[in-house]
Symmetry: C2
DNA sequence: TTGTAAGCGTTATCAG
DNA sequence: CTGATAACGCTTACAA
């Protein structure tokens, strides 16, 4: 039924091993037989059985992908398809394939990872997120299995190859941008603190304030689990304060969209009454009203580099640990303005 | 190094085949030995090598996913992560894994598919799109390889299992909804006509108009390749008409967002001056200003059913061809209004 | 430069 | 109910 290496060997009048060597384009095979064998392959429509090859060579040429549990934000976020595209293109450069976990809960995902790692289905793994506590990461580390994380590992940063932005500095930058516009009451709206990216961004925000000699206020820092609803609740909480902020640093474009909508419903104008800046710069940032000033973190590159570095680790087991920092840049649109206008307004 | 079935056999004092049977939970093994073997597995931390198992059993328990080339709309669209989540959860119910193509261009994708099919890496394939001409689909059909398509196949509909919405009727419905609101100048803004879904939707739109005795106008049907820019250009074209439409049927939420923005920039109010209805009902539909009236096509279910049906086909080769129609429903929000207001406005 | 033969870790077919 | 033994299709020493 299926045409194997043996059929090709027979037709070409050589041994199976020779065919195998032709597939691998071994230098120790004469051009003449290579051509002969390739013709036989053509003629029979031969395609190597990757499974058999994997079993024999103990390598699959495939990358395992681990997304956070689908209840978390990543999956709903344009971040996901974009980083996936980056990984995909990166993998393609070396002909790697992609294998995905299908689990929903953390436990299911953990089991998936064990299955794909011990089941020898993948040569390495990319973690699409970085959480404060993570069984999956611990497992991979313990087994010494090749993996890279997108984001900054919470522990053992020096020992784990990861691809990240400098989220601390980015948050500091945007906060300073707001400060420079004259804002002094700047609040932070972030996601789940279990994600390291959230932690980094609050820290950067706080640093900027501290540098500017502005004291931190607990009421100004809000963390919400969900994107839409979160934005809404954050606005409610913030605006019911005695001293509501005049500017908001929001940790995710989607959440910022929620914020914008709530503000709009309350009749509060952006950026006249309140300034908003956010992160990721997904396509929507530019389609919102007003268009969002947002930090472009080059999501595609995060994925692409993750794939590239993982493949390097797979192919060279003694590859040193790396920290790859993808540059970011602030894309200024129309959601930020000087604080003066707000003050003028209230006078 | 790695613990195999043989190690387990030795420790449990049975033969490798017995261990294999315990893994498969064969009914012809005594409970006693099952327990004994399982204990040995535990003790050694045994996990089956899926690759070896696949080679021996000629089945991989994995589903191949084929997305359209990333230059097309699907990848940028929230549709993609959602349908993926559906497939993922569907696959998980039977412990199937997911394998993805990494190609960018059509040719790369085609090669990926051949490699994963002939390479025996997957037991079946899901096509995440349906195009008018598609080498991948032809290839799968010729080889008689199990596959399902999400969307309606252009040719051989009766012979290909597919999961779809009744896009024709949905488009007809929404157009009639607009008609009922008094609109007579209704335009259609759609995506690439190579996608069957686009074709179905224009057809439904046209049918509704014809039923209502309204003559079709070519200038009222616009097709755009890209989402944002497309929305913008469509608006420009439509509004420069002598007789601009008072209502728009837009084939995709994201494009509708582009439309909304262009309209907004031109100072045209929705729904007062013009009504807009779109398709898919992704999260953004509800976050736009005004919130979009949109057809919820139950994207998650499309994916879930695709996985379920494919697995059925894989497990039962003589499973009959099926057409699964996922229901849709119109979610009314604030982007549609009676035509009267527009008329009043212009008087 | 090429062939022979022994794996890779399972499952499946026969016996018993 | 359980055990040998032969596949599964390929890679890779080791020989020649």
């Amino acid at each position: 039924m299926t045409v194997t290496i043996k059929d090709v060997a027979k037709l070409a009048g050589v041994s199976p091993s020779t065919v195998s060597r032709v597939i691998a384009d071994s230098s120790r095979i004469s051009e003449k037989t290579k051509i002969k064998v390739r013709e036989a392959m053509q003629q029979l429509g031969y395609h190597p059985n990757m499974i058999a090859r994997s079993l024999a060579s103990q390598s699959t040429q495939t990358i395992g992908l681990v997304a956070p549990s689908s209840t978390d934000l990543v999956f709903q976020n344009p971040f996901f398809p974009t980083v996936l595209r980056g990984i995909s293109e990166g993998a393609h450069t070396k002909q790697y394939s992609i294998h995905m976990t299908t689990g929903k809960t953390e436990k299911e995902i953990y089991d998936d990872v064990v299955k794909m790692v011990q089941g020898r289905r993948v040569d390495g793994v990319i973690l699409l997120y970085s959480k404060v506590e993570d069984r999956v990461l611990s497992y991979l580390r313990e087994r010494n299995f090749p993996f890279v994380v997108i984001g900054k590992p919470f522990k053992h940063v020096e020992e784990i190859t990861h691809i990240d932005n400098d989220n601390f500095r980015a948050a500091k930058d945007v906060t300073e941008h707001l400060l420079r516009l004259g804002h002094e009451r700047v609040a932070f709206v972030g996601g789940n603190l279990n994600f390291v990216v959230t932690v980094d961004r609050v820290l950067g925000y706080e640093k900027a304030l501290r540098n500017a000699g502005i004291s931190l206020r607990n009421e100004y820092v809000i963390h919400e689990e969900f994107l839409r609803e979160g934005g809404q609740e954050a606005v409610n909480a913030l605006l019911s304060l005695e001293d509501p902020p005049t500017a908001l640093v929001v940790s995710d474009d989607l959440m910022a969209l929620g914020v914008l909508n709530s503000l709009n419903e309350l009749g509060i104008q952006v950026p006249k009454d309140i300034s908003v800046v956010s992160f990721n710069n997904v396509m929507l940032a530019e389609m919102s009203r007003p268009p969002l000033t947002s930090v472009d973190i080059n999501i595609f590159d995060l994925g692409f580099e993750a794939a590239r570095n993982l493949m390097q680790m797979i192919e060279n087991p003694k590859e040193p640990v790396k920290r790859v920092i993808i540059p970011y840049n602030l894309v200024k649109r129309s959601s930020c303005g000087p604080v003066e206008s707000a003050i003028v307004e209230s006078t």
